[in-house]
């Protein structure tokens, strides 16, 4: 077996719920509901899905960054790091400390949240990276400055406070933070969402370069399918807390086997659109009270009676390709009819 196929992360039957109590009424939001997935060394795995489908909740568990009211109620999240295996769903905070930044790093959604508003950026780098890197003084600074330069950030940013930087610069700073220790596994939640398209492309290229160079694995979460198209090796689609389809990027775009994926791919607006693309009917389901059977059935154009009653299992439908749909054989890619080829960049 080649190194490429070595498994770095195994998630099994993971359930993570937000469990809350409002005025004596308890509420449970089933944000991650029975996800099983495997990730390999050296790959970029993209996670897509609409807002509030549970993407962030899922990767918070992967990143060992869960806090009440979010709780793991079932399942395991096992990493095979170079310093040994660890199940972060059940590890102690001390055990998690041994892998954070150096082995496992997490770029949170909303770049401000990691950057302390009253600390200069340079200080934040010291707080996070000095210990794992084991460098001090000038050697440390040099390492950081060189790393920032690759992200097209001048050394001055180390002296700046977060509010003095634009949204895009802050985002690059957090990417810098997450990659400066050369971790084995990088988790990024919407890392390029606030960037202009020129910088976005550069940052994606950079993440790919760092990934290839360090042999790291990257889990990349974004709702933006065009980003997945260009960086992911495999893409997994989350709908209402469940993984509904997973496969090699190309197959997901050109031969999706779940009606929801087909919709996601076709709904992407393009320059030149003067009309709206066909939108999905209905609202995202309420995860406190998700639909029975296939969770997509209230919005699914292919739904039949069985879908309303029985949960479709994950089935292998091709090499590396799995889907959870009773009617996957009937799924046709929706064609992009409104995109005049000429105006695409």
């Amino acid at each position: 077996m080649t190194r490429e196929n070595e498994v770095i992360l195994e998630v099994e039957n993971l359930k993570a719920y937000y469990q809350m109590n409002y005025f004596g009424v308890s509420r449970e939001v089933r944000a991650v509901d029975d996800i099983t997935v495997t990730m390999r060394k050296n790959e970029v795995y993209g996670i897509a899905g609409e807002s509030s489908s549970g993407k962030t909740s899922f990767i918070k568990v992967l990143a060992a960054a869960i806090r009440p009211p979010l709780r793991v109620v079932q399942g395991t999240v096992k990493y095979n790091f170079s310093n040994g295996p660890i199940d972060v769903a059940h590890a102690t905070p001390e055990q998690i400390e041994t892998v954070r930044w150096k082995h496992l790093s997490y770029i949170m959604q909303g770049s401000m949240s990691v950057l302390n508003p009253v600390r200069r950026i340079g200080k934040t780098f010291q707080d996070f990276a000095q210990r794992p890197l084991g460098l001090k003084g000038e050697a440390f600074e040099e390492r950081v400055v060189n790393h920032l330069a690759r992200l097209k950030l001048p050394p001055d940013v180390l002296r700046a406070y977060p509010h003095e930087l634009s949204g895009g610069m802050r985002q690059r700073v957090t990417i810098g933070l997450a990659t400066v220790c050369h971790p084995e596994f990088i988790i990024a939640d919407e890392p390029t969402t606030a960037l202009d398209v020129v910088v976005q492309k550069e940052v994606l290229q950079l993440i790919r370069d760092i990934q290839t160079e360090m042999g790291a694995s990257v889990v990349f979460v974004t709702h933006d399918m065009s980003v997945h198209a260009n960086v992911a090796d495999r893409v997994g689609i989350i709908y209402a807390g469940r993984l509904v389809e997973e496969g090699p990027t190309r197959d997901m775009f050109f031969a999706p086997k779940h009606p929801y994926t087909a919709h996601l791919v076709a709904s992407l607006p393009r320059i030149g659109d003067t009309q709206q693309r066909p939108a999905l009917e209905g609202r995202p389901p309420n995860l406190a009270d998700p639909p029975q059977g296939c969770r997509f059935h209230p919005r699914c154009p292919l739904a039949v009676d069985k879908c309303r009653k029985e949960v479709p299992p994950m089935e292998v439908v091709g090499p590396d390709h799995r889907t959870a749909c009773w009617r996957w054989k009937d799924v046709e890619p929706l064609v992009n009819t409104t995109a005049p080829a000429g105006v695409m960049a």
Binding site: V197, K201, A229, M252, T274, Q276, A279
Partner: protein, 306 residues
């Protein structure tokens, strides 16, 4: 024709650092444009990360003083230091929707509190039923309802839900001008369309003008009347949105369009940017140049010797 908003030769310079020598940043340089009061439009600002879009928006909102130039709203100067009553009146006319919904809401405060205090302030009432109705109406306009939001804290909602709440909050005083700074960057494609369609219907049905700041060229094309493209503090191209985006002229505008990720080669990992194009676009950085008008109505920044 009267103007709703007039941005005249506006510049903003920030001074950064202190102990280790000062550094100035020209965040916005000589911005000029105006919006008409009679024809509400979606006026889009596109540009580099850090090109001054948010700074410009903050000056229009009167949250930041221009270093030079002036901004007039319905003929009156936008003044950060005006009295409380005047500020409140101005704020009920020009409402912001900020870039990052996670920053816009305090994590310890229930979302409805924001809506409630905005309603209380602008409707000038303490009547609970009136306030609830105003909140629910505003939330319905963005596809939510008070019932769904009630009791929830920001961290209990996803980015997209939060952003819809932020827009709902801005809609409470029925403002004629909305300044939406990347209102759709955190939301998925179908929700993105529903929000831009919302902006469109605000313009068409409620006659609200919208300054729409975005990195998304596709939605800019879809909803804007006019747009400006900014690079390092300067407007480099301005004109009818479709004219400019169909055929961008300034090297930076061209680079921008060429950098939009396509799904046509999904899985091929193509991320290279044409080096020549990149060079051309960076050549102009730091040069003042001047805006010249073209026959098709656009203005483009040109440089000596080019």
């Amino acid at each position: 024709m009267s103007t709703l908003l007039d941005v005249r030769d506006v510049s903003k310079r920030f001074t950064m650092g202190g102990l280790f020598g000062r550094k100035t940043i020209d965040a916005v340089m000589d911005a000029n444009f105006s919006l008409s009061a009679e024809n509400p439009e979606i006026f889009t600002i596109i540009g580099e990360s850090g090109s001054g879009k948010t700074t410009l928006a903050r000056m229009i909102l009167g949250l930041e003083d221009p270093t030079s130039g002036e901004i007039l709203f319905r003929g009156e100067k936008v003044d950060r230091h005006a009295g409380r009553a005047a500020r409140l009146k101005f704020m009920s006319h020009v409402q912001p929707v900020f870039q990052n919904p996670f920053e816009a809401f305090n994590p310890l405060k229930q979302i409805e509190r924001y809506l409630e205090s905005t309603a209380r302030r602008f409707l000038d009432t303490g009547d609970k039923a009136v306030i609830d109705r105003a909140m629910d109406e505003a939330l319905q306009k963005v596809g939510l309802s008070l019932k769904e939001v009630r009791g929830r804290f920001p961290h209990e909602m996803s980015g997209g839900q939060l952003q819809r709440c932020a827009i709902a909050r801005a809609l409470i005083p029925n403002p004629p001008l909305l300044i939406a700074d990347e209102p759709v960057s955190m939301v998925d494609a179908s929700l993105r369309m529903s929000i831009v369609n919302l902006l469109k219907s605000l313009r068409d049905d409620l006659k609200v003008s919208v300054i729409y700041i975005t990195h998304d060229l596709a939605t800019a094309y879809y909803i804007s009347n006019r747009l400006i493209i900014m690079q390092r503090g300067r407007i480099v191209e301005m004109g009818d949105a479709r004219t400019v985006l169909d055929n961008p002229e300034h090297p930076y505008s061209r680079l921008l369009k060429a950098s939009v990720l396509s799904t046509d080669d999904a899985g091929a990992g193509k991320l290279m940017t044409d080096a020549g194009m990149l060079d051309l676009a960076t050549d102009s950085v730091g040069q003042a140049g001047r805006l010249v008008d073209r026959a098709d109505g656009r203005s483009v920044r040109v440089y000596e010797g080019v």
